[in-house]
Symmetry: C3
Subunit: 284 residues, 3 copies
Amino acid sequence: MGRNLVIQTDFGISDGAVSAMYGVALSVDSTLRIFDLTHDIPQYNIWEASYRLYQTLPYWPEETVFISVVDPGVGTSRRSVVVKTAHNQYVVTPDNGTLTHIKKDIGIKEARIIDETVNRLPQSGESYTFHGRDIYAYTGARLASNTISFDQVGPAIDVKDTVELTKPEAYIEEDVIYGNIDILDVRFGNLWTNISRELFQKTRIAHGDAFEVTILNNRQQVYKNRMTYGHSFADSRLGEPLLYVNSLDNLGVAINQGSFAKTYHIETGANWRIMIRKAPKINE
Amino acid sequence: MGRNLVIQTDFGISDGAVSAMYGVALSVDSTLRIFDLTHDIPQYNIWEASYRLYQTLPYWPEETVFISVVDPGVGTSRRSVVVKTAHNQYVVTPDNGTLTHIKKDIGIKEARIIDETVNRLPQSGESYTFHGRDIYAYTGARLASNTISFDQVGPAIDVKDTVELTKPEAYIEEDVIYGNIDILDVRFGNLWTNISRELFQKTRIAHGDAFEVTILNNRQQVYKNRMTYGHSFADSRLGEPLLYVNSLDNLGVAINQGSFAKTYHIETGANWRIMIRKAPKINE
Amino acid sequence: MGRNLVIQTDFGISDGAVSAMYGVALSVDSTLRIFDLTHDIPQYNIWEASYRLYQTLPYWPEETVFISVVDPGVGTSRRSVVVKTAHNQYVVTPDNGTLTHIKKDIGIKEARIIDETVNRLPQSGESYTFHGRDIYAYTGARLASNTISFDQVGPAIDVKDTVELTKPEAYIEEDVIYGNIDILDVRFGNLWTNISRELFQKTRIAHGDAFEVTILNNRQQVYKNRMTYGHSFADSRLGEPLLYVNSLDNLGVAINQGSFAKTYHIETGANWRIMIRKAPKINE
């Protein structure tokens, strides 16, 4: 049996694009097992594509083959690559920064450029706009089904040469923790920061402690309030904010049964910074 | 071969949450067959989670394992359970009312509390906010793949002790049928009531009969009009309302190719009541 | 092993309808492999259902069984059919125009009416509103699993008698190409016309040539501008319009990283016409 194949795109599922990719993969091997990561990456948002891979890969078995197609540069000279991670999973993707988190936080062992003279859907030569179907689904399926080995993807390149987005790191200065709003827990509106539990705990905190949390968009303050550090949403009252460790072991900011992001119009990225400092306990 | 696994959540499919659950399940057994019920349950809406299970379970094979994660109380002391239904299907869920319809309308034979000391994703001990991944996907996959038997889920509890939401029953009084708007046929905006075809037919009705339909939100009248009882939408003209028996053998209210719910701002739940009485035939 | 089964509907995936169809199919054969085309066809939009089949079928293996349920006439006397295409794939659908593109552009070899006395979910006789579950999923699964042969679907009919929607053809007159906006590349807002690359090339064009593009809604001009013919979006600057050959080998109109449809409020269908003529080169 082949490896499982998992697909992520920014194509949505309202038209036939994703289904055409499935069809191509099943035409390579009609017994392939195919799954979705998400097809709702905001269009052209390479950062979020990179983050969602980092969020999910650790929970999938070794040898799984992932395809990620968020590809604003389709038709340019950007390269198409397949990498093998430190945990022996594969990612098939345009080399445009989609590998940023995987490279830093999981590790990449080997990288190869897709040789499109062999790894391209036959008779698709006149199509320049749908590499998701013609190159990535086709190559991912050939690799997942063992039709080709990893070596047969194409020539090896230096892992260091794969494209990376700027990825700010969190740090502590004079007992204040500085970080970024990396991404949203979309459906629930929780903010996920780049502050790891490990870093947070260097400030000798305990559940129930109170913190002053400031959020800035560039230099402009968007939010400032006091909140408690809890295990889970249930540790605050309905509608109250709290700090918690999210499911990726990073610090999150939430409102119990509310959307923090919507309530305070918070977005994500390098401009969206968060400062956390311990607050004196108030008698309640 | 193991049993099929079917997952329902209120997580949406725009981020990596559902895919992480799939990955955990496939890490238990990489040949598992996994399907979706829906991931679009409105957040925290336990009633709708319960209803969607009732709507779909009868159409799936015996031995199917369902996971339902609508879990506003994650991190509280609410229990996690697995039940075996009267038709030998399994449901893995927080015990928060999600089993209401299954218990009343299908029947539950046995219930067990999940023993999290064994049925929890290894190394997930510091995560308090994603039991969908760490407990429900993991336990559901172990059960579906026969890695554990139902007995090995954890200690048995009395079925009577599982949590139930209030579920109003429809009734007839002086030839008027009183019921509730239970839920919507979301995409098409049809109202689905809790009035069964069997109860409705006690008023000696026939297709083509006219009825006066009143809808109230608490005591306030929101809609009152005359409509015909038809087999299907096509039995009314475009844009006209009609009464019909829906695909679950309950009474529905629709507008032919229109959304009744949107047109009249109708919502669902115990406050949304419907009264139906036979109308005298008008010469047309 | 049976054939793969692929389902398309206008039901959305927010309630239990699609999952009930899956359940019925897996109750026929619990090892069936089922996939989605899309469930986001706009309600009652038979044209788009027809187009999405045409868009994806060529990429799926021979013998695949497709189910398409966009069925505004459920409960009327419209027929239910299964057809076998020129490439030996099957489509199970109401006979309401859903086969328009398949018939013209791929070809249909044989058509059969579904005999509902045998090919209908047992005990579903009182349900008149969900043929997707009771007839199409059930029959499609029986065919895909080889429970019935194509002959056992029901009596053969003349392929010519299957219902077709009006489908305008593109043409050239005095070096102007006249066509229609057939459909959108939904997520990205690109316009897909019915002008084939082959027809377009009859005007002796080359990549980099400039064209004057006019779009009309009925006789009213909605858009008129000059744009370049490129290989891919990257051949125009960010925010600039371009003509290109899309992934189905037809002419498309796009804005690089923008939504043409939203920006200019363009819709699709027989009323939405496009005229393209070569523009004199301007010194840049």
